[in-house]
Subunit: 352 residues, 2 copies
């Protein structure tokens, strides 16, 4: 949960936009404002006196974790009726008259039920607030990076490769090390791609024996906050040649990170280098993304993201070159925006 | 992917509802109709000649898995423009004039962009089709159940408890066994709850040593299809007394499964038994849910679900009693609706 000061600032922004409250349905948004992580349907009405509607099944869990007023969720009509006729402790009517902000991610069939009764407007207040991390959030992400990095070193993947481990079992052992080292779980399904499959940026680990090269894209959660790192172990001269280009794009992009720059400018720095070497068409994804409670959050380090970098954003920088049917190389780190970009963790970008 | 016959029947139903096509954004819906499992943004326009818009990053993967025509996704305006001005091989105009069906789960901000250009209507065609499993789907779910069950027996959780394993490490070892036994991954984060925490239906495994009783709710995926099972190991007389009640509700609910019944009637069978014993308020969730590519699919075995059971639906039956601050007991199996309900897998409902 963010601190009370930040919560007050969010509620103030809701009011400044001319609305009484905001409907939260996204699990991570509810966790962000309340510390309660729903495991079943839940709604938070974020307003002067916020209230969370949660399932009977989750009530004990919610009581143990959140300080926000709880009500048992029965149905959407019940939620609507309740927030339309609410009174505070002093008997003052405290309902939602001016309308309700909603998240962009809200499912159509839920929007459709609320829109009968409220003036509705989509708002990115939560996404924007979550972009700027508090000191506590930065510390958690940094710890997650350190745990993830130590776990990869503990895994000794080159030895696993010699021992004919499958991609699946190597990724599974990495997960065990993450837990032993203090992480709670992977922040996404670990990618261990080897051989030709490294040219698929989102390959799934298979039961086949590990081949060469080896691309690992992995992360863990520490107190619900995510890390995200990629490393590639190269073997041939051609692979090493491509690796040097990716490394130059990675280093230059990280050096270009500072408050005031646009995210699309950071993407351009990495993309221009790779394009100059003739591999522009082989850099088939964005240069990076924000992360926090979710593994992908705003902003994007992409061609089209005009967001301006601010202090205490945390983004990944992950240039890659993918040669279909041959191999792919990616180097990725998690970067904290201070006066310049600071890589979280101390794992060298090239490990073999 | 479902078979071609089923795909044709879905497209026919779209036309019967007076629309030219349906916009699919849900990853599992796209996988269901195409066999391609998106790892990044993707849209499928399901129509006479379906087309999938996929990211550059996913293109190689999509080409390898799907037979549906692929286009590279650039932006939503590009998708809109493309499907508004499409011609088939013979030059016949083949665009979406009559409007576009959407999924209930579609994010508001995507709906909002399409609604400018199309008459939009929410449809549950895909949800309804996915409720009725093909023989291939049933076989995959059955195999997933068998792998999951064997893995729990291999784990020997009572020994792990004696050896002072933590809930987290026991659940992790169960995951490894699932992979060794032929599953690809867990179908959801394994719940191993012990001691008082068994009263939280969705407890997360902690690093604390395992206590008594032990509740395990776990499943695996086999060829992308999910299993879902729960077992509770009881120790005290009081726990055994509650277990007998849950078992009666479980057995009677399964016996009541047959085509033609309403889902809410099945829920009532289990709920009435537990209520008769005085624990109605302690059965704090629904009796079950559908499953398939997703761990939770339609229909729900709940108070409010009026859906009528049909042959080849697959649902869970999972009554439970939760005594806050004391303990909880749940017994769950995956049930295939034939002329009567057939439990998938052969694991005894009570294991100690």
């Amino acid at each position: 949960m963010v601190n009370e000061k930040k919560l007050d600032s969010i509620i103030q922004k809701i009011h400044e936009s001319g609305y009484d409250g905001m409907l939260l349905y996204d699990i991570k948004n509810i966790q962000y404002v309340s510390n309660y992580k729903p495991t079943s349907i839940a709604f938070c009405i974020l307003k002067e006196n916020p209230v969370i509607f949660t399932s009977k099944m989750d009530m004990e869990n919610a009581k143990n974790t959140s300080e926000i007023t709880l009500k048992e969720y029965e149905s959407i009509p019940q939620v609507i009726k309740s927030i339309k006729s609410e009174h505070d402790k002093n008997g003052t009517k405290n309902d939602i008259n001016s309308g309700l902000l909603i998240e962009g991610s809200l499912a159509f069939n839920i929007y459709d039920k609320f829109k009968q009764d409220f003036k509705i407007k989509q708002s990115d207040i939560l996404e924007k607030e979550r972009m700027i991390k508090t000191k506590e959030e930065v510390d958690k992400i940094k710890t997650a990076c350190n745990i993830a990095h130590k776990s990869l070193l503990d895994l000794d993947i080159l030895k696993k490769q010699e021992e004919s481990f499958s991609e699946l079992m190597a990724s599974y052992e990495l997960g065990m090390l993450i837990r032993e080292n203090g992480g709670s779980e992977e922040s996404f399904n670990t990618i261990i791609a080897t051989g030709k499959k490294t040219s698929l940026p989102h390959s799934s680990p298979s039961k086949e024996k590990m081949k060469q090269p080896i691309l690992v894209d992995w992360g863990c959660k520490y107190m619900d906050y995510c890390s995200d790192t990629s490393r590639t172990y190269t073997y041939t001269e051609k692979e090493a040649e491509i690796e040097v280009i990716v490394l130059e794009a990675y280093n230059t992009a990280i050096k270009s990170v500072k408050p005031g720059k646009k995210l699309c400018e950071i993407d351009k720095v990495a993309r221009d280098i790779i394009t100059d070497y003739g591999y522009g068409d082989n850099f088939i994804h964005s240069t990076g993304h924000g992360l926090g409670l979710d593994i992908h959050e705003k902003p994007n380090v992409s061609k089209n993201d005009q967001t301006i970098l601010e202090k205490d954003m945390i983004i990944t920088i992950e240039p890659g070159i993918y040669l279909e049917g041959k191999f792919g190389i990616r180097i990725e780190d998690t970067v904290h925006v201070q006066n310049k970009g600071k890589v979280l963790g101390k794992l060298k970008p090239i490990l073999n």
